[in-house]
Amino acid sequence: MVTLNSYLVLGAVLFSIGAVGVFTQRNALIIYMCIELMLNAVNLTFIAFSRFLNSLDGHVFVFMIMAVAAAEAAVGLAIFISLFRNKETVNVDNFNLCKG
């Protein structure tokens, strides 16, 4: 018998895995993939709540999140391409132009 708590716990676990990946990874592209993982975990939470509350609002919001994630993927990868053109690396340790 799957309860709502199971889905929420799974969403929380996936979100924390993505969050830790953002903190500890050195490759900028993998950091970005961890952000996408966090968005997916939030999608799972929305769908679970929408099913539990018998309301389609969660589905519409997940639709919007997917649209935003697609737009963000396009622009973010364009930024990565520009960065890579300048620096020839995607290691985030090397992007320290703003350092005081």
């Binding site: 708590n5 929380a12 996936l14 903190f23 996408e36 099913r51 639709f63 391409i81």
Partner: protein, 170 residues
């Protein structure tokens, strides 16, 4: 049966996510993320979210991740080592414990009258394309139109950002 499918998809999603986070090679990380998204699509079907499950496979796993792989191979980024160093993986697991305990505690506290929340019955067309489409085109029409403007802005931004600059202008 549902419990078994939930555990299969959930376990697969968590294992693929861990593989993605501890990988140094971007192509393997991207493939692990594709696997995670596919397992999540299975979970959406378990939750009667049929349209969102199909969109997850088409948009997320089929378009966004392919774009990722395209960019990875275009920039030709390849790290020589396989997984991150042992110290980093230990640090990651420690971090996951700390962050995970916070979130898991938060969501485990959702209880009504001391009993865990079960998923009740829903309408026959819950989560189908028709039902979600009706919502999108009647109640949520404005966000729907603004999403199209957002996508237009993203297209324009991506084209401008990725354009090769001519040296004598700006």
């Amino acid at each position: 049966m549902q419990l078994l499918m939930f555990y299969i998809f959930g376990f697969g999603a968590v294992v693929s996510a861990l593989l993605m986070v501890t990988n140094k090679r971007p192509v393997r990380a991207a493939m692990s993320l594709v696997a995670t998204m596919s397992f999540l699509a299975g979970l959406y079907v378990l939750l009667d979210a049929h349209l969102i499950a199909a969109l997850q496979l088409i948009v997320y796993a089929g378009a966004i991740m392919v774009l990722f792989l395209f960019v990875i191979m275009l920039l030709n980024i390849e790290e020589k080592e396989g997984l991150l160093g042992v110290n980093t993986i230990l640090l990651q697991f420690l971090g996951m414990l700390v962050v995970g305990m916070l979130f898991v505690t938060m969501v485990s506290l959702f209880k009504v009258d001391g009993a865990p929340l079960t998923l009740g019955a829903v309408a026959d067309d819950f989560g189908t394309t028709k039902a979600v489409g009706m919502m999108l085109f009647t109640e949520y029409l404005l966000p729907f139109e603004i999403a199209s403007v957002l996508l237009l802005a993203a297209i324009v931004g991506a084209v401008i950002l990725a354009k090769r600059r001519i040296d004598d202008s700006e």
